[in-house]
Every structure is written in C-alpha cells, then in structure tokens.
C-alpha cells in the first residue's frame, strides 16, 4: 500500500518542475518582473485612477522618453562600458531641436534629422575615444559629461530667450509631442518599435551577437577576430542617437527649454538599468530588462510625487527601493545556479524485478568466449559506440572526436575518416540505398550520403504540451533502425541531460527518454513513445511491423508495434535483465543480439527504490561520490522474439571487451563496439549464415 502510494507520488508529483523552471533563461529576469508587479500592485492600491486611460497613456509617454536613454545605456553596459554623458547629450539635442523648430522655423523632418545627427556625433566622440583610442569609459564619459554640459549651458544661454519668444505652428511638431495613435502617444510607439528592433538585433542577428560577445568576453571576442573597436564605438553612437531621440520627444511635448534639462539624468538612467538587472562589466543584459527597469523607476518616481510625498521622503523611498531590488537581483543571480544544481536532480521511483542469476546453470552463464578474439584498430579508435558494415564488408564506427571512421576490408588495417560529423556518433544504420543514418549525441539524426556528404535529417521533434523545459530539441539521440517503408525510428535516451551527464540520468532513473519517428515522406518528426527510462537500442522486429527497444536503467526490452493489428501498443519482451541493455541488433537466425553495457548490483537496485535517499545524496555529496551503475563488466546475449535467452558471450578476463555497447553480426562474424573502448572486436560465430548482413543494399533503382 505504502509502496504503491510512493510509486504514484514519484510518478505524478511534478518534482522536476522546480528545477526546470529555475533553469529557464527568462528566470534571469524574475526579480525585476516581481519588482514591477509589486510596484504596480502597491501604487494601483494607493492611487485611484492608476489604470485610467489618460494616466496610463501619460505614463507611457514619459516612461518612453526615459526608456530611449536607458536602452542606449543598456547597450553600452552590455558592451562593457558606461555612458555617463547621456544627460548632457540629451540636453544639447533638446535645446538644438527647439532652436531649429522655433527660431530657425525649420520643418520638423530636417530639424529632427539634424538633431539625431548631432546626437550621433556626440556619441561618436565618446565612441572614438573609448572604442578606437582605448580610453577608460567611466573617466571619459565623465569628462564628456562636463564638456557637453558646459556646451549646453552656453547654447541654452544663447538660445533660450529666442526659443521662448518665437512660437511655431507646425502641426507635425505638435503631433510628435502630444499626438496619439490608438490612444497611445507617439513617443511610446517610437519606443516600442525601437525596443523590439533592438531586441531582435541583440538576440537574433549577427551584429547583436557580436555585441554580446564583446561584452561577455572582450578578450575572446578580440581573439576570435571580431571588430571589438568598432562594436564598442558604435554602442556609444547608438546611445547618443537614442539620447537625442528622447530629447526630441521631450522637447516636442514641453515645447520649451529649461536650464536644468538632463542634469542628474545619468544617475536615474543608470539606476533604471541596474534595477532592471543589467550588470556593470558587460555581457549581461537584455532589452526586456531595460524596459522593466525603466518602467519600475519611472512608476516609482512619478507615483511618489502623485502621492504628494515630500521630496525628502521620495528620495529616501527611492534609495531604499533601489537598494532592495538590486540586492535581491544580485542575490538571485548569484544563487540561481546553485539552486538549479541542488534542485534539478530529482530521482524517481523505480522498482526493478529481481535480477536473473548469471550462475553456471543459467542461460546467462559466464564464459570466456570473447577473450581470444581478433582486435581491429587497437589504440587507433576512441569510443566506438556502434559499429556497422557495408555491402563491401568495410567496417564503420564512430569516435568521440566527431568522426565516422572506416576500416577497409578485408584486413581492416587501413583506417580513414569516412566523414566528419562534428559530434559523437552513437547508433548507426544503412538504408537500402547506402545512406548511413547516424544518431549523433547532442546534435540529432544525421546521415552520410554514399558521396560522403553529411546531411542533417532532423534535430527536433514536436514539443510536449505541458512540458516546462523545451523538449523539442534532440539532446541525446541514441540508436535507430529503419522500417521497411523508410520511416526511421530512433531513441532519445534523455531529454533532461546531455550525453556526458548520462550518469546523473541513471541516478534519476525516471522516464526521461522517448522514441521518435522520422518520416522521410512527410519530412516530419514525431514523438511516438514517451516516458521511457533511458531508451537505448532500437531494432526492427523480424516481422517488420514492430521495433524492439531497450530501456537501460529499467533493465528491460520491450516491443513497440508501429504497424499491423496491434499498432501503437507497447508490450514487454524481457522484463528483467541482469544488466543494463544497450544496443539491439538482428542475428542471422532471426533472433536478436543485445549488448549489456554493465551488470546490476543489489545496492544500486535498492537505491532505485529510495528516491529520497538518492536526492539527499545528490544534494549533499560531490558528483564523483554519487552511486553509479556498474559499467565495468558486460556481455552480449542473444534472445528470440519471445524474450528467451539463447546464448551469452563474456570476456571474463576483463581485458578486451569488458564493457560492450554494441555488436553487429555480419557474414559470419560478430563485431563488437564499446563506448569506453579503444578497439573493435571481431568474433567468429559458429553456425551463422555466412551471407547475412543487417542492412542489405537494395538492388535496382536508387533512392529518390
């Protein structure tokens, strides 16, 4: 009873949700989002009419004006600089545009153009000094702040009275400042457009990636040949242009110049960026954060004054809130990684049936048949997870360097790189036209054409409806086989871990894996079976309507009917193996070869029934001290369609093939691969069909 409860608790309670939620990239922005919600909640409670259309559109307009500058500052901060001169640039552009419109009576378009140019020019001064001459950003913009400010003071002194005494009747100018489109002010439209464009640029375009790269690691970016100087310089130019844009909108709204325009602005802008969660030092930041920071800071400042708090109290509240929010954000940033590390691993409950005996009288009886066998490529291959042979008897295997190697028949002495695929090749299969399909860990399903060209077949499947983590990408495509109609069935061992983290997945031993079908006719990839415990080997059934698949940590073999009367059903073939099954392949007598990469032990089996224990272990111990399945000794077994074990092959010495992940029967020989081996074994089979091969090539017309 209790066990059943425990089983259901671990099956249905969403333990993984916390870790997966924390791992989401957007959780990075959690603190500013919560801060914004708190801010809005508090002030909408305190201030009546907080959500009235006029208040909202009025807030939008003014927040947008601030937002332009914060966005510019954000870009500069991301690149790893700082721009303290924004307030002065803003002020100069503000007075300039007013002068052009009022005194020079210029039409709006050229006046705005000249002003933007002026902003770009002022930004370029910073950009050239900091980007190209390599000056320190803080000091330089501090000085340009003073220089631009005194320039502004002189211009304002000259022009202010003129601006005040001349009026303009330009409709366009009036519209820019006080016009609405769909009851949203023009400044807000402009800001939204620029913010979205910047977001796309930063996250989706090459230039934006350069910006992030330069900020993230200037040195690496430089060594990678990125135009570091140009990127740095242009960030200041953009900052200048955005500051001038803000100055224009403010000018159009108020239509007058004042002597204190933009003084102390750098501080508010910087505060907005920091409250939004953008960090000094570069590489960390996004448009979303800039917008959040802007809105928070603006709402707080404007709402406090609407609540008629005195200037002193407003300042104190503002200071406390800045400190509070940024401290929280910094703590969050620091501790999220740790929390993910602690909370991500969530072991499941797995009640394994008793392990069958490997004693002398059992079908699994240990022998030494694999001891004296022929070795191919000794010391020349690393990690041949799977091996396969073609019509001409050439032998193929993957290596951990991202290559598919080919040993040429008949003596397998000569080795060459057949194709460079770029990731660790796992399961392999030939289609009737000689295309070699490969599951590549971390990349997906690829194929190598007979002309040795590497092509991507698929690297994503349909996303599960209620999954928190995006499981559409293939993380660990493991083994495959090809159905008679050309559909390719392949396993993905786990959606929660990378290939090198297989050990953590074994500790979880929950249904993290799935079987996926790629249909070449529709070019669609669909998940067909879900929640499998590390599905590994896949082999087409002898009747051509089902596949056999191995679930490594569950130590069982099942059959999935993809065609025929039982279509869609999954049924057990072997419910308990003495070890962890890996690849499955066909034998010449219509049976199946199964590789066991390691043997079960009672301690690990027991721990599978104690998820809380494993969770404690994962939290309290270093990863290299965790329990791990034994993969030191394995074997190859042969079974029939009913799951009866017919034969077992062992290497008792533990020298040549202690750990086996795959085997392939080909023309009377069994070829052995192992992911931790540096060799391929060749074992002469008695009584085997000397002409058998698993994936014979089709005679006749070639593949479309």
């Amino acid at each position: 009873m209790l066990t059943t409860l425990k089983k259901y608790r671990y099956q249905y309670w969403p333990d993984t949700a916390v870790g997966e939620l924390l791992k989401k990239p957007w959780m990075d922005t959690a603190v500013p989002v919560v801060a914004l919600m708190l801010t809005v909640a508090f002030f909408s409670w305190q201030l009546s009419g907080f959500f009235s259309i006029s208040t909202v559109s009025d807030n939008l307009q003014q927040a947008s004006e601030l937002g332009f500058i914060v966005l510019g500052m954000t870009l500069v901060l991301i690149v790893g600089g700082i721009d303290l001169s924004v307030g002065s640039t803003y002020a100069i552009c503000n007075v300039l545009v007013l002068y052009l419109i009022h005194v020079e009576q210029m039409p709006v378009l050229p006046a705005v153009g000249i002003t933007l140019l002026c902003g770009a020019l002022l930004g370029a001064i910073n950009g050239i000094l900091i980007g190209y001459l390599g000056l320190r950003a803080f000091l330089t913009t501090l000085v340009t702040l003073i220089v631009f400010r005194s320039l502004f003071d002189m211009l304002q002194f000259q022009w202010a009275v003129g601006i005040a005494t001349h009026t303009t009747d330009s409709e366009a100018w009036y519209y820019l400042g006080t016009g609405y489109f769909l009851s949203i002010p023009m400044a807000a439209w402009a800001f939204a457009a620029i913010a979205i464009a910047t977001h796309i640029y930063l996250t989706r375009m090459r230039g934006g990636w350069h910006v992030m790269a330069v900020g993230g690691s200037r040195r690496s970016a430089y060594n990678a040949g990125l135009p570091v100087k140009r990127v740095v310089a242009s960030s200041y130019v953009v900052s200048g242009v955005l500051a001038s844009m803000s100055g224009i909108f403010y000018g159009a709204r108020i239509d007058s110049s004042s002597a204190d325009t933009g003084s102390g602005m750098a501080i508010i802008v910087l505060a907005a960026a920091l409250v939004g969660g953008i960090r000094l030092g570069g590489g960390k930041g996004s448009v979303t954060k800039a917008v959040l920071g802007t809105v928070i800071v603006f709402l707080i400042t404007s709402s406090l004054s609407s609540m008629a708090t005195t200037a002193g109290v407003s300042r104190i509240v503002l200071a406390v809130i800045f400190l509070l929010f940024t401290t929280l954000d910094i703590r969050w940033f620091k501790n999220r990684g740790k929390a993910v590390q602690e909370l991500y691993v969530t072991p499941g409950y797995l009640d394994l049936p008793k392990a069958p005996s490997t004693a002398a009288e059992s079908p699994y009886a240990v022998n030494d048949k694999l001891h004296d066998i022929e070795l191919i490529g000794l010391g020349r291959v690393e990690s041949p997870e799977d091996v396969i042979l073609d019509d001409d008897d050439n032998l193929y295997c993957g290596t951990r360097h991202g290559n598919i190697m080919r040993f040429l028949a008949p003596d397998y002495q000569q080795m060459e790189v057949y194709a460079h695929v770029g990731g660790q090749p796992l399961g392999m299969a030939f289609d009737p036209d000689g295309y070699l399909y490969v599951c590549i860990g971390g990349m997906g399903l690829y194929r190598v054409t007979p002309e040795r060209k590497v092509e991507k077949v698929t690297d994503e499947t349909n996303r599960s409806l209620f999954s928190i983590a995006d499981d559409s990408r293939l993380r660990l495509a493991d083994d495959l086989d090809i159905a008679p109609d050309g559909r390719i069935f392949f396993s993905e061992a786990t959606v929660r871990y990378e290939m090198h983290e297989w050990q953590i997945d074994s500790l979880e031993s929950r249904g993290n894996g799935r079987i996926i079908c790629y249909d070449p006719h529709t070019n669609q990839t669909r998940t067909v079976v879900k929640n499998l415990v590390f599905p590994n080997g896949i082999c087409l059934g002898s009747e051509g309507q089902s596949i056999l698949f191995a679930e490594s940590w569950a130590c069982r073999i099942s059959r999935y009917w993809f065609d025929g009367p039982q279509k869609g059903r999954v049924e057990p073939v072997i419910s308990s193996l003495p070890g962890y099954p890996d690849n499955i392949n066909r034998a010449s007598d219509g049976n199946y070869w199964i590789a066991l990469m390691g043997m079960r032990g009672p301690a690990f089996d027991l721990s599978m029934r104690k998820p809380a224990f494993r969770r404690r272990m994962s939290k309290r111990l270093a990863q290299d001290e965790w329990l791990s399945p034994n993969i030191n000794v394995g074997c190859v077994v042969k079974c029939n369609d009913q799951g009866e074990i017919l034969e077992a092959l062992w290497d008792r010495s533990g020298v040549n093939h202690p750990m086996i992940t795959s085997m392939r029967e080909h023309r009377g020989y069994l070829y052995l691969g192992g992911i931790s081996n540096n060799r391929i074994g060749r074992y002469k089979l008695e009584k085997a069909d000397p002409n058998f091969m698993q994936h014979p090539r089709r005679r006749g017309k070639p593949h479309a």
């Binding site: 790893g80 600089g81 700082i82 303290l84 000094l129 001459l133 390599g134 000056l135 320190r136 950003a137 803080f138 000091l139 330089t140 501090l142 000085v143 340009t144 702040l145 003073i146 220089v147 400010r149 005194s150 320039l151 003071d153 002189m154 002194f157 690691s217 200037r218 040195r219 430089y222 570091v228 003084s263 102390g264 501080i267 910087l270 505060a271 920091l274 000094l280 030092g281 570069g282 005195t310 200037a311 002193g312 109290v313 407003s314 300042r315 104190i316 509240v317 503002l318 200071a319 406390v320 800045f322 400190l323 940024t326 401290t327 910094i330 620091k334």
Partner: protein
C-alpha cells in the same frame, strides 16, 4: 609573465624611468601649463594667486583624498557630497538652536559614520556594486536632509560654531586655514596608506581581493573601513567648506561636484580598477584642475567656457595617456570600466 617580472625591484625602477604613466603625464602637463601661465600670464605667478589656487581646490582636494582611499580599495563613493552636506548642515542647525557645540558635532559626525558604515556593509557584505550602493545612500541621505532635520536647505554658519571656525574660515600666517586643513588631511591619509598595516591591506585588496582573502586579510572589514574613512573626510571637508563660506547649501548635492571629485582622483592616476595610486596622485590631479581654472580666470573666460576648456584639456590628458599606454586587449581586465 610581464607582471611578475616587473615586480622585481630593479626592473621596476627601470620601467618607471622609461614608462610614462598617467600620473607622470598629468604632472608634466601640469608643469607645462604652470610654466606657460607663469610666463605669459601677468599676475599668475605671485604668492597671492598661488594661495588663491590652493584655497580654491582645498575642499575638492580633501574629497578627492577620501575618494582615493575608496578607489584604491576597488570601490567608489558617490555619496560623499551628500555626506559633506547633510551632516554638516545638521551640526550647524543644531548649534544654531542652542545645542551644545560638542553634542552638535557628535550628532553630525555620527550621521556621517552611520552612512559610511552603511556603504561599507552593503558593498562588502551584501556585495551590491559600490556604484549603486553609494548612489542610493547618497540619494537617501539627501532625502533625510530634506525631510525635516534641517529647517532650510541652506543653512548659514551659526555664531555658536565660531569656536571651530579656525578649521577653514581663518588664516594662519597669510595662508587660509582651509589650505592647512587640506595639507593635514593629505599627510594623514598618506601616512595611513603607506605606513600602516591597514593602509597596505587596502592596496592589496584593491589589487586583487581574492588573493587578499586567500592570504588571510580581513577583506570585508577593511572594505567597511575605507568607506568609513571617506565619510569622515567628507564631513570634515563639509565643516571646512561651511566655515570658509559661512553657509552650507545642501543643494550642492544636486550639482556635479561628485563628478569633479572622481575626476581629480582618476585623472591623477588612481586607477578605478584598484590598488594603484596614492595621495600624490590626488594632489597632482587637483593641482592640474585648479591651475587650469585659475589661469582661465585670469584670461577672463566665463564660468561656462572655463568648464568647457577644463573638460577638453582633461580629455586630452586622458587621451595622451591612452595613446602612450595603449590598452592591451590581451591583458585588459574584464569588466574594467
């Protein structure tokens, strides 16, 4: 490899002779400008004017010294102007309402210490960036100054404080006492930084906080201490300033004074990345700014034009340094702004 080599004493001196670092460049520029002004500007090179220069920079210089202590320890203190203004104004307000002089002083200094501690604790223990911490505490302190502890934003020097007027409002042998106060603070800070264990700790922490922690230095307490020192210097500078102008305008917080303070410190060659520079650098930076301003005054430049020219000259000084000592992309420190 270069850095380890240059730490050897012999090579260090050799490198010093050849290498023009920022301090040397700024000092050379100062000398050139000083000589040029002495030759071409009548009325520049006389005792009265030189004293004038010193007097005009004494408060800025003192703030610079406090800032330098923090910057050497790889921090920055933007709350110094607020600490200069509000606690001083509090002391003056209390004294004018008849509170005992000693008590009034203690109240002001205690307020300054409280904010110095707050800065230190937030940066050292909560690990909030110094830029933001001190920005916020400065704002908060300015807010406190505006929320009732002072009667007005501008506080005149009360007669009750005349017993301490000598710190900035009088003259000694023809030298304004504010200049003497500056000199005393400079010597004190210099002794502290170069001759005491804690001072050397600040250099070590600024140079590499992690290494300093590994060697067993009390990194966090020392960081708190540096903000405390800055706060104390700021409130002292505030009293000097108030006694010399007979008024404390707390609205000085709204101005760009803090930028000038950072400027003289960094301009003199106290690197913002910490561990470099000293009192001499601050004095050089302050002298350059003071001399330029004084020369332009004699040249009859307007106030705004002076700021403009000052800025351009400073920009040139930084640019020359950058051209002579270009930033190396290979060794540049990440996040060093």
């Amino acid at each position: 490899m270069n850095t380890t080599a240059s730490l050897l004493p012999k090579e260090k001196t050799a490198a010093k002779i050849i290498k023009l670092d920022q301090q040397t460049i700024v000092f050379l520029i100062f000398i050139i400008i000083f000589i040029a002004f002495s030759i071409f500007l009548p009325g520049f090179l006389n005792t009265g004017n030189l004293v004038n220069i010193l007097r005009s920079i004494s408060v800025l210089g003192m703030l610079g010294l406090g800032m330098a202590v923090v910057v050497i320890g790889r921090g920055i203190d933007l709350s110094m102007v607020a600490i200069l203004a509000v606690p001083t104004a509090l002391t003056m307000t209390l004294a004018s309402t008849g509170v005992d002089l000693g008590l009034a002083l203690i109240a002001g200094v205690a307020l300054a210490i409280a904010f110095g501690l707050l800065n230190g604790l937030l940066t050292a223990y909560a690990e909030v960036p110094a830029l933001l911490t001190t920005l916020a505490t400065g704002l908060g302190l300015a807010g406190i100054g505006q929320s009732g502890i002072l009667q007005f934003d501008v506080v005149p020097w009360p007669d009750q404080l005349n017993p301490i007027e000598w710190i900035g409002g009088t003259t000694l042998f023809g030298i304004p006492s504010s200049v003497i106060s500056f000199a005393v603070v400079a010597i004190a800070v210099s002794v502290f930084l170069k001759r005491t264990k804690l001072g050397l700790f600040i250099y070590a922490i600024g140079d590499n906080p992690n290494a300093a922690r590994t060697t067993g230095m009390p990194v966090r307490p020392v960081m708190v201490l540096q903000y405390l020192i800055a706060a104390l210097i700021a409130v002292f500078a505030g009293l000097v300033m108030a006694s010399s102008s007979a008024v404390m305008d707390t609205r000085i917080y709204n101005l760009s004074l803090i930028y000038n303070v950072v400027l003289v410190v960094v301009l003199g060659g106290v690197g913002l990345s910490g561990g470099r520079g000293g009192v001499w650098n601050v004095i050089v930076g302050t002298l350059l700014v003071g001399t330029i301003l004084n020369g332009m005054t004699i040249l009859n430049f307007s106030y705004d034009a002076q700021n403009l020219v000052k800025g351009v000259i400073l920009l040139m000084a930084i640019a020359i340094d950058s051209v002579l000592n270009p930033r190396n992309e290979e060794t540049a420190q990440q996040g060093d702004i």
